[in-house]
Symmetry: C2
Subunit: 309 residues, 2 copies
């Protein structure tokens, strides 16, 4: 069995853009540092929430270079390597592994639809073989709401069997608990992360490694509380709190909403910028979102502030 | 009204790969030359049929460099610039426009789903503005079966209005005649190409500019006959012939089937290679496909051979 590089609460980090739409490395480094300081167990940079596919491969690699140069520990990083071609995915992964990242998160080739398992196996195998590094730890990324191209349990099993030291885990963003439960039952030694904290407590009770969740960008302390206390009598009440926060936020377009929350609580309006095709929240939406959060008593980084008092 | 760089039968050119899976520039150049010799009015290289998204941006630009260096006329080329990021799309397009291509074919940012028209408008506008060239002629690419992210008529109208000299046409691969008909009615001066020759005659009768079709890789002469004779009494019979050929081929996975046909008729077995996640036809499928084609009397490049006799 391979060593597992990650467990706990991982955050698919939002990517800040400047007013002119360029990746903002300075804000990105500061935000990654803040997330780790909040207690994040890992940073799944360049995921869906990161608008990774709105950046070229070169832009992503440069941001990773900047993070490493700034002293963010590579072992805490699980960069996404989303690409539809074996060649681009391999380039991104070689670069990341060269920096010593803990692992990478790998989408299927999402332009394609209705591909069978033989073709998808050949795609992942092609990438792993082309990278050709024993240091690679790959997490598969199952997110059919975005890709409309899922990873079947059989495909996951074939990849684990062919690359037992490399294919070590999976992020399940299907939003379908029955799929997560089936994965947990069939692959007990595999590191499975639900893609939403809504499934965190259920996941932990069935052997999940933690979760990788968009709302981690604004609620690491709350989500960590569930992770730390899942065996205690308070677990269900703590889970209900983070589920309520999640549902409040996801009533709005998720990435623009999260960026608006960061802009508000970090008192940094430029943080709200997104790249097209995403659109910033309107003033009305922003006001409604912040009002909804105030009603449930949501405050950013509360747990750490309490700890510091 | 802008000048229209393309009309007639355009081919989304198959991309040959070597046995080790690398783009095969030599075979690609020869095949492009053969297609033009067969009568293709334009080459929509790097489209869906080209497995363009199975190549990195660098690989695509290098293949285009090789085509140009080999003397293929740039004005005949309509390279696809499929990318989910404004930055990568702009890089691909700047490179293509720098070579003097007739136009480019532009996908929406296909990783995303359920984006509204404001975001999609900002994406296309962002690319056009970033390229910043009056030489750019952009064809929009509506292919919801692959992208699950379509281009509404309103969005098309907004883009034409904002960029009348740049946004000059559209390829409609929806497979939905009612959508093509609605586009033709609403935008009579726009160059609209159905994405299948099945709609060629109906399209021409309603003002379409021609078609851009996968099966053009193996049937330019037949499809050209419909284009040349659409006002004659033979038009419906000619259309029935190419529709039958199309339906025979598309009973199999389209790209592997087309590559298998090219391999057979060009007596070049290596042509059958595909990149993952696509999978080559099995021997049984290949035999059945070639048998089905023999039954309908299909021969590659027949019209030109007749002409030469």
């Amino acid at each position: 069995m391979p060593s597992q590089p990650f467990a706990g609460v991982l955050v698919p980090v939002l990517t800040p853009f400047t007013a002119s739409g360029e990746p903002d490395a300075g804000r990105f480094v500061a935000f990654c540092r803040w997330l780790l300081d909040q207690g994040a167990d890992g940073l799944a940079i360049f995921g869906t929430t990161s608008e990774a596919n709105s950046m070229s491969a070169g832009e992503r690699m440069e941001l990773l270079d900047r993070l490493i140069a700034s002293g963010i520990p590579a072992a805490k990083l699980m960069p996404g390597a989303g690409a539809c071609s074996v060649t681009e995915a391999a380039t991104l992964i070689r670069h990341a592994v060269g920096h010593g990242v803990g692992g990478v998160l790998m989408l299927p080739p999402f332009f394609y639809k209705g591909m069978d398992d033989d073709g998808l196996f050949a795609f992942f195998a092609g990438v792993i073989d082309r990278v050709g590094s024993s240091a690679l730890r790959m997490f598969l990324y199952h997110i059919p709401p975005q890709t409309v191209l899922g990873l079947s349990l059989d495909l996951v099993g074939r990849l684990i069997e062919a690359y037992p030291e490399t294919v070590v885990g999976l992020k399940d963003s299907s939003g379908d608990w029955s799929n997560t439960a089936a994965l947990l039952e069939r692959f007990p030694d595999f590191a499975i992360f639900p893609g939403s904290e809504v499934f965190l407590l259920d996941g932990l009770r069935h052997g999940a490694a933690g979760c990788i969740t968009a709302t981690g960008n604004v609620n690491v302390p709350g989500i960590r509380k569930v992770y730390e206390n899942w065996r205690t009598p308070q677990a269900d009440a703590l889970q209900a709190e983070i589920t309520l926060a999640r549902k409040t936020i996801q009533a709005y377009p998720m990435v623009p909403a999260l960026k608006r929350i960061v802009a508000h609580f970090h008192a940094d309006p430029d943080w709200a910028a997104v790249r097209p095709p995403m659109v910033k929240l309107s003033e009305a939406q922003s006001g409604a979102l912040l009002g909804d959060l105030a009603k449930i008593g949501f405050t950013l980084g509360e747990a750490r502030r309490e700890a510091a008092e």
